[in-house]
Assembly symmetry: C2
């Protein structure tokens, strides 16, 4: 279990604008707070009984393996763009809560997808399945590994919530919505893949909920509401919907074309699992015959992959991503915020739309 260098947090010291640097300083503070909390929990439980620290370790490995920290970054940006005081630490717990919620979602998702790699390290369930096997413990190794992962995800969710309790009460509604939406969206994703529902409308709705709202819109709104500026909600919603769609399309492209070494997770899973991705909805518009291939038996997966990687689809999708980024930036054109934040949010839109992991 070693961390991949490419998956270290996108945190401190990478921005070139003053706005971005102010955000990166808060992001570094949130990172510090999160790791400090996890260490203190580990210490505390290990002193009660030695084995009790093991579950905290499982959470810790995924936290420490890095990741893009996108949701904290959007939350802190929403706060600063709304005029929040960069010296007031009240925003930090909300940023930590968003990342720990994401850690829960990743740990549980990896069980659901039977994925072996996350952020360049072994997933929690795979690691504990191996551990069980190596020690020749009683019972089924896979069952054991998945049980540890279910409970580790639960613990991360509870930790997330403990942090959000320290945020001002104005966030309660947005935090409630964000979490229910995330979980309902995950379930729809699982159900649609199982039922082979090649429904582009449903695929778009799932992407809107899971990427647009969960990753971008709601974190921005949480930040803005802590700064006392709920009026920025509509602009952030429009920005989040467009940039979230671009984010999801990039995710789909990375899943088909990216390498596991760069993304820190296995490629090709979506097609394997018959998921109706946003990428597929666009490809189907070009070539309606693809629709049948998505819900076809798995032997046809190779054909689907060949069609997707063939000429045309990729260029189309890149064009669409460019349009969405533009649309996201336009959504902020009239929003009441400093122009340096309009620029920084445009930077962020480009970063999520043109990332390579």
């Amino acid at each position: 279990v070693t961390a991949n260098a490419t998956t270290s947090p996108a945190a401190a010291g990478q921005s070139v604008t003053a706005a971005g640097q102010a955000r990166d300083r808060l992001l570094a503070a949130a990172e510090h707070k999160m790791r400090e909390f996890i260490s203190s929990e580990r210490f505390r439980w290990s002193s009660v009984t030695p084995q009790a620290g093991a579950l905290v370790d499982a959470v810790s490995v995924i936290v420490n393996a890095g990741g893009k920290r996108l949701r904290p970054a959007f939350c802190l940006s929403g706060y600063l763009a709304a005029g929040g005081d960069p010296g007031d630490p009240c925003i930090i717990p909300a940023a930590v809560a968003l990342e720990l919620l994401h850690v829960c979602a990743l740990i549980h998702d990896d069980v659901i997808d039977e994925s072996s790699l996350r952020r360049g390290v072994q997933t929690v369930h795979a690691w504990h399945t191996d551990d069980h096997r190596r020690h020749h413990w009683r019972g089924d190794s896979r069952r054991y590994g998945e049980s540890v992962a279910i409970l580790a995800g639960d613990l991360a969710l509870v930790y997330a919530d403990r942090f959000m309790n320290d945020a001002p009460a104005t966030v309660d509604a947005a935090w409630g919505e964000l979490r229910s939406e995330l979980i309902i969206g995950q379930h729809l994703d699982v159900a649609a893949a199982a039922e082979g529902a090649a429904d582009p409308e449903l695929a778009r709705w799932i992407a809107l909920v899971k990427s647009g709202r969960y990753t971008i819109h709601r974190p921005l709104v949480l930040g803005a509401s802590i700064a006392g500026r709920p009026d920025l909600g509509p602009a952030f919603e429009a920005y989040g919907a467009a940039v979230g769609e671009a984010f999801q399309l990039r995710d789909d492209l990375l899943n088909v074309f990216g390498s596991a070494a760069a993304t820190g997770k296995p490629g090709g899973l979506d097609i394997e699992q018959g998921k109706m991705t946003l990428l597929l909805t666009l490809a189907i518009k070009r070539d309606p015959h693809l629709r049948e291939l998505v819900s076809a038996p798995s032997d046809d997966q190779a054909r689907l992959h060949a069609r997707l990687t063939g000429a045309g689809v990729r260029e189309d999708v890149e064009k669409h991503i460019g349009m969405l980024v533009e649309q996201g930036c336009e959504a902020l054109a009239q929003a009441p915020m400093d122009s340096e934040w309009r620029d920084e949010l445009a930077n962020m839109a480009h970063q999520v739309a043109y990332r390579d992991r």
Copy 2:
């Protein structure tokens, strides 16, 4: 999926004392609030997209199948015993939150234990595994059923938390502790069974955390703290530790001797999974040879069961339960509360220690 009549909530209208009746009225109000919330969530998500209501349904089936509602009952009793106003609805959300947290724990536990029956109805994962098989959907049926259950448990946990957000902020610390302890306790249970750790001290600690604190002590303290009476903490802690141990011993006895028809869940799982139960720790004191049988390969399970059901062990355990109930009641003897609440909490101690399901 039909509910077993014996598992309807122990709620309204069963108590004979005035104190118990006041609690039962609040319990009925909490029950109403919880079911109303679940219905409104179901309606809301189904209107967004038809499939989105399915995950709420999964939570709903376990909620509506009943159960003992012990944690809400202790929370409401702690509130009233501490002099809380029975007409003030501020206590209701906390009681609902405790039950929804428990629903999360049950749904995830049943995946971990591969259990097929809960509260007399099919468990969430078993139901959705069957559903997948019946519809000939894509992918592995068990994987699908367990994925739905993981997400349904997550949703119940988020709902629990949304309710607790509506409780006064004085509960935050106790709520944080209660949830972390529950999850860490579950993990230790899983780990100890896998490692075949026949460690009576660890078994007692797990029982203290999972039953004493989670089921009795912390719900009582939550209720008392909402009534502004944290001074009752130490008395409730001592009561909870003793009555919780009695509760757990009864659970172990029901697991070995009880019928699935009465308990609404399968029997014998603990022995099958090599769990070091409290019952076993007492049996080992009588007959040290049993210790080896616990960590022995599974062919010896029948021998272990025969020894446990043999003369002597059961009587010993019943005696021990009687002593614990007495000890729990004594812990309240000097506590600053009305004598009618001392009596009602003694009733409750008897109810949990001598229940048949």
